[in-house]
Amino acid sequence: MPILMNTGIDIELSFNNALQGLGFSKSFAHMLWLPLPMLVVLTAALIGVLATVWLERKISAAAQQRVGPEYAGALGLLQPMADGLKLLVKEDIIPAKADKVLFTLGPILVVIPVVLSWLIVPFGQNLLISNVGIGIFLWIALSSIQPIGLLMSGYASNNKYSLLGGLRAAAQSISYEIPLALSVLAVVMMSNSLSTIDIVNQQNGAGIFSWNIWRQPIGFIIFWICALAECERLPFDLPEAEEELVAGYQTEYAGMKFALFYLGSYINLVLSALLVSILYLGGWGFPVPVEWIASLFKQSIDQAFIQVITASIGIVMTILKTYLLVFLAILLRWTTPRVRIDQLLDLGWKFLLPISLVNLLFTAALKLSFPIAFGG
């Protein structure tokens, strides 16, 4: 949280001041501070995954008129923990004819870029690890590494289903990256910045009416479809289509390596939902601007008390929007059939790509003709 805004609490500054007050040097305080936001965000991501796994089980149960997990903790809340524990103590099997190095490296390469992308996710004005200037572009670049990990594990498993799954994953990922990037570009064009903070700030002028979803409805749908495809969620879960490919590139994996894939895919899902809410649903913004509410009660926005409330509302709003989208993704998974590989590629290249190009050009035209509404 290196940026220092005029308004807003700066936890880093107070942390550093407190440590320097205790007699530590400035650089030592900074070094102590550095891992803290990362740890917090990593923990948040992991808890987010646990919640998503629980939701997935409960919602799928509801969709199929079952009860779902109910014995592990109240309402089965501890079920994801039990799952994780089971995977942790399972035997780690590497097939005899597999390529051991690549087999181990594959899942790691899948998880690391996804976790790194959390660097740019803001939960409030100052609540992110680092406001890097290339912001959202970093996420696009990092998510392009993932297919290499998938190809690697598919190849190293020495299994035809795994190889096919890996190849499908790579093909899918490449195809959907382009419309995804183009729809992000339209948003970036409107906010004149790649930084996620600027993108959210640009949407929070007039509460819910200034969210990008009204200005970019087509971009929103394209982004959501592509995000689902990048996460390999149904209806786009071809790489691990169990009826055709056993489990795709995951077939030979067991224990903690399988857990890494599992973790990676759910972290990616939560991350994608977060980014949709940041790009199109106003990020941490409340449907009515907090400044308006504060002025209604004749309170100054700069008060520490109001600042704490604003920050909490921001975090709650971000998580609420994200989990609404996660809920949508889970509902989609349990209600839609899978597309075929040719339909998938047709949709990506022949439909989404041209539409997203047109959307980009249209946004540029609107930006030139109505600079007030489309960020001149």
Binding site: S27, M31, L102, V132, G133, I134, F137, L138, I140, A141, L142, S144, I145, P147, I148, L151, M152, G154, Y155, L163, G166, L167, A170, A171, S173, I174, E177, L194
Partner: protein
């Protein structure tokens, strides 16, 4: 020496070690799949060097283009034609290896000489950091407009070439290329669009 500069130096040495050893691995390993994966590692190392130079946009672009597109496509191509066949031993392979080794060492010596004889200005110009994205955009659309447009024409040509190569049915009808060993994979019942139907039936 501050913590930042120490970290920077450690990162620099780690990255260069990764790049050099990875690049050697790309050339020297006999398993082409390993070479392709190592190539991805080398690209990532170069992106890391850009990051050290405070050029984060270039680093991200490097990852997106070279790792995410070029390297994935290379891997894809290798794995799609994943045929195990024993290559015939080439005559005089030993001499060829020695010869190419000499050429490589010569090139290396040349580079070292350039490195030593050039008066480098240290430290170089200050990095513009976060502003670089805007500056790159400005340059691309003002003084580097012609190279930019030429590159786009080049890419268009490459794309048309790829489409022509991928649609072998049109070539087959026109020039009747002899069947290669992969032709059974290609779906031959496709109807060509680019040429009229009558000429095929004849």
């Amino acid at each position: 020496m501050t913590i930042a500069s120490t970290t920077q130096q450690i990162c620099f040495f780690l990255l260069t070690a990764t790049i050099v050893s990875g690049a050697l691995g790309v050339v020297l390993l006999s398993n082409i799949v390993y070479s392709a994966f190592l190539l991805g590692g080398v690209f990532m190392g170069v992106a890391g060097l850009y990051l050290l130079l405070n050029a984060s946009f270039v680093a991200a672009a490097q990852i997106l283009v070279y790792v995410g597109a070029v390297n994935v496509l290379i891997l894809f191509a290798i794995m799609l034609v994943n045929k195990k066949e024993d290559l015939k031993p080439i005559k005089g392979l030993q001499y060829r290896k020695i010869l190419s080794g000499i050429v490589c060492i010569g090139l290396f010596i040349l580079l070292v000489r350039v490195d030593l004889s050039t008066p480098w200005s240290i430290p170089g110009p200050a990095a513009i950091g976060e502003e670089s994205t805007i500056r790159i955009g400005e340059h691309l659309f003002t003084d580097y407009l012609l190279p930019f447009e030429l590159a786009s024409v080049l890419l268009l040509m490459a794309m048309i070439g790829a489409i022509v190569l991928a649609r072998r049915d049109t070539i087959k009808a026109q020039y009747s290329i002899e069947k290669d060993n992969q032709s059974e994979i290609i779906n031959e019942s496709k109807t060509p669009v680019l040429i009229d139907q009558k000429s095929i039936k004849n």
